[in-house]
């Protein structure tokens, strides 16, 4: 089966600044997480996959179509759901009004069918009971679910989500993860995140970007496995550790080259990511 997303030597530069440098990916059904620090190229890559940005060079095929042509781009956009990093909401609209507005942008012209579809997606994200409520009166978690609802219009085959859980509290994040997980059965979902917990909880596959290039492409257990035998805990921090932080029990968890008698721990995705990244990225440490 052809991959849903295929890129070859994908590159993007803003003037002289390279944002992506030669990215090769093949993504199919399931959830792929994009990890990486700020400036790694995650948003640039997602924008290219969402057809809102043209690459500087390289090839992209989405759902079997070439988005560099007008016909291919239109075909992709008809089967695409996208939640940008900054998708504002019209505060004065109700949840129904907003999703209805986006449905019009997505060519749902017949009013009765469109409204049925809007109700369907709002029910899918458990906002059916509050669809008439003004967006300004919804909680942060509910607003996020409105953004996901508009992406689900038309039952898209490709879902591109740029940091969908940012700003949510742990309970809201858990609920959002459950929603995403529920809608990944028959579609390709690509999401970017700073939270390694999102990757561990959700993703079948993880791609780590570093300065525009793919630093890792594999499963979350494989990413965690990079730190196998290299995670330990002690009462005092070891200056030789790549990264260390104080745990809730008052001890120090460290990643790097452990001493001979170290108390080793099972590695997590975060440990593997930190080791790969060579230290503490901006938001990765919990």
């Amino acid at each position: 089966m052809d991959p849903f997303v295929s890129t070859r030597s994908l590159a993007k530069s803003y003037g002289r600044s390279p944002a992506l440098a030669g990215v090769d990916l093949d993504l199919g059904v399931g959830i792929t997480g994009l990890l990486g620090p700020n400036g790694a190229g995650k948003t640039t890559l997602l924008r290219i996959l969402a057809t809102s940005l043209a690459p500087t060079s390289g090839e992209v095929r989405l759902l079997g179509d070439d988005p560099s042509t007008a016909a291919g781009r239109l075909a992709v956009r008809r089967r695409l759901g996208y939640v940008p990093q900054e998708l504002g909401l019209y505060d004065s609209f109700s949840a129904f009004d907003f999703v209805d507005y986006v449905a019009i942008l997505k060519e749902h012209v017949d009013r009765r069918a469109r409204h049925d579809e809007v109700r369907r997606v709002l029910d899918e994200v458990d906002l059916g009971d509050v669809r008439s409520k003004r967006i300004r009166k919804l909680s942060g978690g509910m607003k996020r679910r409105v953004t996901l609802a508009q992406a689900l219009l038309g039952d898209p085959a490709l879902l591109v989500l740029d940091e969908p859980t940012v700003g949510l509290d742990p309970e809201q994040r858990l609920r959002f993860r459950q929603l995403i997980s529920r809608h990944a059965d028959h579609r390709c979902v690509v999401l970017s995140t700073h939270m390694t917990e999102d990757v561990e909880a959700l993703c079948d596959r993880v791609v780590v970007l570093d300065r525009g290039s793919v630093a890792f492409d594999g499963t979350p257990p494989a990413l965690a496995g990079l730190a196998a035998g290299r995670v330990w805990v002690d009462d005092r921090p070891d200056p030789g550790a790549v990264v260390s932080w104080r745990t809730g029990e008052g001890r120090h968890r460290m990643v790097g080259d452990p001493p001979a008698d170290a108390e080793l721990l099972a590695p997590t995705v975060q440990d593997g990511y930190l080791l790969l990244n060579g230290g503490v990225p901006e938001e990765a440490v919990a």
């Binding site: 924008r47 809102s52 998708l87 504002g88 129904f96 507005y101 942008l105 997505k106 009765r112 109700r119």
Partner: protein, 276 residues
Amino acid sequence: MSWHIDQAVAERYADRRLDGAHSASVEAHLERCDACRATVAGAVDGRDRALLDTIWTDLTAALDVPELGWIERALRRVGVGEASARLVAGTSLTTRSYLAAALMSVVLAVLASRSSYDDAFVTFLALAPLGPVLATAWLFGLRRDPVGELRHAVPISALWLLLVRTAAAVVPAIALTALAVPWSLDRGWLAVAWLLPALALVAAALALSSWLTVEVAAAVAAGLWFAGVLTLRVRLRLDALVGALTGPVQLVSLAVLVGAVVVIVLRREAYEYREV
């Protein structure tokens, strides 16, 4: 009890198709027979449930119809399709660009009443073209178009959407700027000599927006016009300035308008992607 209500009778009773005597007999029996009450209840529920489902579906559909703002209602009244009207009225902030244009018209009218007549007319011709292009810049300001990035990831043409929303800002802005025209009616067609430059500035802004963001493009267009008018004001006497604004500037505006339309057509693919 030897007689019981069968399903056919129960359904006719539920449909109110039994005559009075037969209904009375059924009702008298129901007072004593649990089994027949259950039979009749099933027949009533089945029909009423279907009716209630239909009523609920229609009620939900009616309640979910978005409340139309005045802009959308006005557009629908003049025959604009529902989808197009929704797009034009997509943001309540659209109305603020009209208020900005109205404010400019009021300012121009006050200037006209307080200055010497020629000064006021020149000021009006110089500033009036800025109203529509600044209204466009305001409408598309990054923080005022929440779904901005999404318009480059949906099937509907981003260029068409840009044109529709620009028209939504420009048409009322031009109409409101025209409120100041009565003060210059004795000048004949010169009273609307600002219109062609206004259209040229908006077209130039849209053409530039194939490289820049819309608000930056509009600011560049407005800035170039303002600089040009200021330069003319410094170099020319008042009567010569009026002549320039109503003569050569009109020709230049026409050329800019045509050139901008050509650029928009040639670069139409560029509008389908977001600005950097």
